[in-house]
Assembly symmetry: C2
Homo-oligomer: 338 residues x 2
C-alpha cells in the first residue's frame, strides 16, 4: 500500500502553508414559500427580555443548499474539486477527522486543488424547513447502532452500547475510539427531499462549475445525476462507496462518455448484508456506464491489498494515502497540471 | 466616517493572499443520550434500493456545537478571534455577505487574526436533536416579515411581501436587494436550549481559548456569560447589537475587571419598539459593568455620524469600515501586535 500511495502522491511535497486567495461561501438554489393559518404563541428568547408573541405564518426561503470554498492563489488542478457528503451527514465529513487529524479538504488543498465543500439541502448550514408543512414526512435521526454497522466500523451485529465492548473490525482503520465524537457530526435527514437536493446541486454546478466531483455514499447518487443533467459542468466523478444510482440508466449514459468515473470501495463489504446488496446495484450501474462508452475505473482497496477501510474512507487512518490514490487517478485523466 | 475608519485600519495593507497554516473544525461539548419505546417504520432512502426498516430507538450524541477555524502562518493579533452569531442564524453570518462581497471572517483574516467561527448548539453544522424528546418545545422558523423589522432593514410596519414594495430605510446600508438571499441563511431555533448552548461555548473557550470574542445579537448574551464563567479564557468582548445579558449581574461582574467590553450599535433603533426596549436593558448592563470597574467603550455609529447601519452590521455596505473600527479598538486594548 505504501508504495502504491507513494507512486500516486502529488508531484513534489504537499504545501506546508496554503497561499489562499479567497475563503467564501454561498447559499444556492431554493425557493420562496408562504405559510397561512397556524396559531400564534408566546416565547421568551433572551433571558431578561419579556415574552414575544410569535406568529408562525409568513414568508420563508426553503430548499437552498450551502457551499463553502477555499480558492488558492495558484491552483495546480485544472478544475476545482466539489466534495459531496453522504446521507445523515454534511460537509464536515471532509474537514478535520473525528480523531483530530487533517481530512480530505486539507489534503486536496495542500495538493493544489481549489476545494468546494457542500452541505446539501436540509443538512448543516443549508438549514431546513418546517415539517410536515414543507418537508414531507418526519426527520430521521441515525442511531449509533445503525451508523456503526452501516459504516462498517464493525460487522453486522457488532454494536454494543458501552464503548469498551464495541467490536470493531480487528484490522479496521476507522478511529473507533473517536466514534462517539464522529456521531456528533450526524445530521437529521428526510427521505422526501431528493428532488430538491438534486435541483440545488444542479444550480451549484451551473454557478460554480465545471467541477471534479468527489462524492460519498448517498451523495454519489446526486453526483451521478449531476453529471447526467449538466454534462458540461462535471469533468469527472469519484464515487466513494456509492449507495445509489440514477433511476433512468441506459439511454442517457452515452452523453457523459467524456466524463470519467472512479468507483472506490473499502473493506469488509461481505460482513454487511446491506452493502452486499447495494454493491450489486452499483456494479450494474458501473457496467452500464462502461457499455455506454464511459471510462470507468475501480479502486477496490482490499483487492489492491489495502485492508481494513470502513465506509468512511476519508476518516480512516490511511485517509491521506487513499486521497493520494484519488489524486493520482485525476492526474491520469489529465485533470491536474503537474 | 472615512477618516475614522482609515485611522483605525490595520497597520499596512490587508493581506491580498492569506498564508494559512491550517483550516480545521471540530464539534465541542454535548452528551450521550438514549431513546426507548418509539415504534419502527419503513423508509426508502436512495432510489433503486428497497425500503429500510428504521427503528428510531437507540443512542445519540446531542447538544454539541461546531467551530471552524482558520489559523494563519503568522498571526498579528495576540489572540484568536471567536465570531459568535445571533439568534436564528449560524456562523455563515460572518462569511461572504448575501450580496456576494467579503464579510468579517475575510476581513479579520486579512488583518492578521486567526479566526474561529462558531455554530451554536442546534444551529447549522452543530446539528439538532429529536424534538420534543430531547429539545423541549418546538422549533421556531423566523418569517421574512419578522427579520425585516427585527434586523431594522426597514422601520416597524415597513415589510411588504413583494420585494419591489418593501420599504427599507432610505439611508439603509443593508443590501435590501439581497434580503431574500440573506433569508436562506435562516436556521430554526428552539427557546429551550440556552443552558446547553452556554455549556458548549464554555467547553469551546476552555479548549481553544483564550479568545477575543466578537458576538452579535443573541450571541452577545452567551459571550457576556462566557466571560463571567471563564474569565481567563476571554480577553475582550465586542458586543455587536446585543439583545440580552446574563441574569445575575452585580455581584460577579468585578471578576471580569480585566476583560474590556465594546458595545456597538447601528442606526434607526428608534424605529423599532423592540430595540428601544432591548437597548434600555443593555444600557443598564453596560453601566453595571462600568460600576464594577470593567473598561466599557461604546461605538454608537449614528452618534459618530455613521448613518444607516442595520442590525446586521457585518453585512452592511460599510462592513469593512466597521470591522476596522473594531480592530482599532482591539489595538487600543493591546490585543494586536501591530
Amino acid at each position: 500500500m505504501t508504495s502504491d500511495a507513494a507512486q500516486s502522491a502529488p508531484a513534489g511535497k504537499p504545501d506546508a502553508v496554503l497561499r489562499v486567495k479567497e475563503i467564501g461561501s454561498a447559499h444556492v438554489g431554493g425557493r420562496s414559500v408562504s405559510l397561512h393559518g397556524l396559531p400564534a404563541r408566546e416565547i421568551v428568547f433572551s433571558p431578561g427580555n419579556p415574552p414575544v408573541t410569535i406568529d408562525p405564518n409568513g414568508d420563508f426561503e426553503i430548499e437552498q443548499m450551502y457551499v463553502q470554498y477555499v480558492r488558492l492563489e495558484s491552483p495546480r488542478a485544472r478544475y476545482p474539486l466539489l466534495l459531496v457528503h453522504g446521507g445523515g451527514l454534511c460537509g464536515v465529513t471532509y474537514e478535520t477527522k473525528p480523531d483530530g487529524l487533517p481530512g480530505w479538504q486539507d489534503w486536496f488543498l495542500r495538493a493544489g486543488h481549489d476545494v468546494y465543500v457542500a452541505d446539501a439541502v436540509e443538512r448543516g448550514r443549508a438549514s431546513w424547513a418546517r415539517s410536515p408543512e414543507f418537508f414531507r414526512g418526519e426527520p430521521v435521526f441515525r442511531t449509533k447502532a445503525e451508523a456503526w454497522e452501516l459504516f462498517r466500523i464493525g460487522p453486522d451485529g457488532s454494536w454494543r452500547t458501552a464503548a469498551e465492548q464495541r467490536q470493531a473490525h480487528a484490522d479496521g482503520r476507522f478511529p473507533a475510539d473517536a466514534f462517539d465524537q464522529f456521531m456528533k457530526q450526524s445530521i437529521p435527514r428526510w427521505s422526501s427531499n431528493d428532488a430538491a437536493i438534486q435541483a440545488a446541486y444542479g444550480e451549484l454546478a451551473q454557478r460554480y462549475g465545471p467541477f471534479v466531483v468527489v462524492a460519498h455514499s448517498q451523495g454519489c447518487n446526486f453526483a451521478f445525476a449531476m453529471a447526467l443533467a449538466h454534462p458540461g459542468m462535471v469533468k469527472a466523478v469519484v464515487a466513494v462507496e456509492p449507495s445509489g444510482f440514477p433511476d433512468r440508466c441506459g439511454h442517457v449514459l452515452a452523453q457523459i462518455r467524456h466524463v470519467p468515473h472512479l468507483f472506490v470501495w473499502g473493506d469488509h463489504i461481505e460482513t454487511s448484508a446491506m452493502w452486499v446488496r447495494v454493491r450489486q446495484g452499483l456494479d450494474a450501474y458501473r457496467d452500464a456506464l462502461r457499455d455506454a462508452g464511459v471510462v470507468v475505473d475501480e479502486l477496490d482497496l482490499p483487492a489492491l491489498g489495502i485492508c481494513g477501510n470502513s465506509h468512511m474512507l476519508m476518516m480512516d487512518s490511511n485517509s491521506d494515502a487513499v486521497a493520494a490514490l484519488l489524486h493520482g487517478w485525476m492526474a491520469k485523466q489529465g485533470l491536474t497540471n503537474g
